[in-house]
């Protein structure tokens, strides 16, 4: 069973729900280690002082901040710890927002929030929070301190349990200035065609129909290398040329998909 990454409580008003946080996602990537080609031995990373060309122990490493003037200010672990956010064990809900008002671009890392303990009171308080938030489609906002960082967090209901997602601060999302094109407003006919095409290619969202082809290919490469000692190079795909005539491309697509 997965280990809790954080434990504490969620409080809203004077109601306190003891909870634990678990990551809502797991890493399924194919990982490689760095080896020495000559003898196949794994590599170790060692820290060296670049000035003295001398290996240094972990305790001798500090945190350098380069100022605009190019000066490096050094802080110790102890100093960083001293200014770390108060390690509060409470996620205080400051407000409830409409789920639809929070753009997912703000969402960072998702966690599953489960009640801790067996006693009836906290379990009922957890359930009350789930029921009420699910019924109103509201998201609870608060702050959570994990390790040395304080995050803004959104708590919502997913599949009957609470999920907490850490959020980016507003100034961590770049403006879209200059990114949306200065293209012409589409003609009605073009827009109608495009909408029909989209509907012709419409499907229900079903995450289980997508598999990680990248992961598969990495594992195939490893298998092939292990068996045959070499890897067959895949053929290079061609990139389609940009459509010159948009309306023509739309018509061709509709024909291809038999859309009227």
């Amino acid at each position: 069973m997965a280990r809790a990454l954080w434990s504490g409580s969620i409080s809203f008003g004077l109601v306190n729900v003891p909870v634990a946080l678990f990551s809502a996602v797991r890493d399924q990537d194919v990982h490689f280690r760095q080896l020495h080609r000559k003898d196949g031995a794994p590599l170790e990373v060692r820290r060296f002082c670049s000035e003295e060309d001398k290996e240094i122990p972990w305790e001798a490493v500090g945190h350098g901040f380069e100022t605009d003037g190019g000066e490096v200010v050094v802080l110790t672990d102890a100093e960083l710890e001293a200014i770390a956010p108060r390690r509060t064990r409470t996620i205080e809900v400051s407000s409830f927002a409409d789920a639809a008002d929070i753009d997912p671009i703000l969402y960072d890392h998702p966690y599953v929030v489960l009640p801790t303990g067996e006693s009836e009171g906290p379990l009922r308080a957890y359930r009350l929070l789930v029921d009420v938030m699910a019924a109103t489609d509201r998201v609870a906002l608060g702050r959570v301190v994990m390790r040395t960082k304080e995050h803004l967090a959104a708590i919502r209901v997913r599949d009957g349990v609470l999920n907490l997602t850490t959020m980016r601060f507003h100034d961590e999302v770049r403006p879209t200035t200059g990114i949306g094109s200065g293209g012409k407003k589409p003609k009605k006919q073009e827009l109608d065609h495009a909408v029909k095409l989209i509907e012709a290619l419409a499907e229900d969202w079903d995450p289980s129909q997508y598999s990680d082809e990248h992961r598969k290919r990495m594992l195939e490469v490893v298998k092939e290398k292990e068996k045959k000692g070499k890897v067959t190079q895949p053929e290079e795909a061609e990139v389609p040329k940009a459509s010159d005539d948009l309306l023509e491309a739309l018509r061709a697509s509709m024909e291809q998909l038999k859309v009227k």
Binding site: F12, L14, P42, F48, L75, P85, R174, P234
Partner: protein
């Protein structure tokens, strides 16, 4: 606001669906503003270098002698060259191939990994705008795949402000299923009607329109202030602490007290 620089693109390619092909550019959409430090030697402030050593020979290994190994059994590795992995990693053809369109609102945000912006490539401005408006009109997101930095991604493309956002997507088996993967305690007893009503009232009382601009990263400034103090030779100490508190045990009483507090 200062005049915006023309944002630099990190990937140029072609988005296709059916017989339509649109030149597009990928841009960074998010950036961490957490104050970051680099490792330095405490004695002299010099930058710390990470050097690779062979664990068998106890000797530094130059970069060109490093290979990647996949561990098949404990301590047993299959060696693969970087070129072999890169070639298999996905097509280097810069192609974002849209497979179909789904209801944007149906994608649970738990699937969203990283976000980028998509802009129009040269000559693709009109078609880009058409796609953006058609997505907006239909409320749909385009689902497609593309290869970026030697890795293939599944992505959802949806309108965001006057541009398009590209969310790389997690795969279903990367999402934890609490019922299967975690120890979910047995559900508590159904709260009674009065509790539900009062909790609902409390949620309403605390309801607020969401504006991301209302929330600042307060810790960022604390860290920058500490750096400033240290640069002046002052001590870096913990800011004043406030004590924690614990809530009561009676759910109904706590709800009642909260409502009184929130209204008063």
């Amino acid at each position: 606001m200062a005049a915006a620089k023309k944002p630099r693109s990190i990937w140029n390619g072609t988005l296709t669906f059916a017989a339509v092909a649109i030149p597009v550019k990928l841009h960074t959409a998010t950036e961490s503003k957490t104050v970051s430090f680099r490792e330095v030697h405490l004695d002299d402030g010099a930058p710390v270098e990470h050097r690779r050593f062979c664990s068998k020979e106890d000797k530094e290994v130059p970069k060109d002698e490093v290979v990647k190994g996949y561990e098949t059994a404990n301590g047993k590795f299959v060696v693969v060259e970087k070129e072999e992995l890169d070639a298999a990693a996905g097509s280097s053809a810069h192609h974002l191939e849209v497979e179909h369109f789904v209801e944007a609102a149906d994608i649970d945000p738990v699937f969203f990994a990283k976000t980028y912006y998509l802009g129009a490539g040269d000559g693709g401005e009109d078609a880009y705008r058409l796609l953006r408006e058609a997505l907006e009109k239909t409320g749909r997101a385009a689902i497609g795949r593309f290869t970026f930095h030697n890795r293939e991604y599944l992505a959802a493309i949806r309108p965001y402000e006057d541009a398009l956002a590209v969310h790389t997507l997690r795969f279903a088996d990367e999402i934890v299923d609490p019922a299967k993967d975690l120890d979910v305690p047995k559900a508590g007893k159904k709260p009674d009607a009065r509790e539900v009503k009062m909790a609902g009232q409390l949620v309403e009382t605390l309801h607020d329109d969401f504006d991301p601009g209302d929330y600042e990263d307060e810790h960022r400034q604390v860290v920058l202030d500490a750096v400033k103090r240290k640069a002046k030779g002052e001590d870096v100490e913990a800011p004043d602490d406030a004590g924690g508190e614990d809530g009561g045990g009676d759910l109904l009483a706590a709800l009642e007290a909260s409502l009184t507090g929130a209204k008063g």
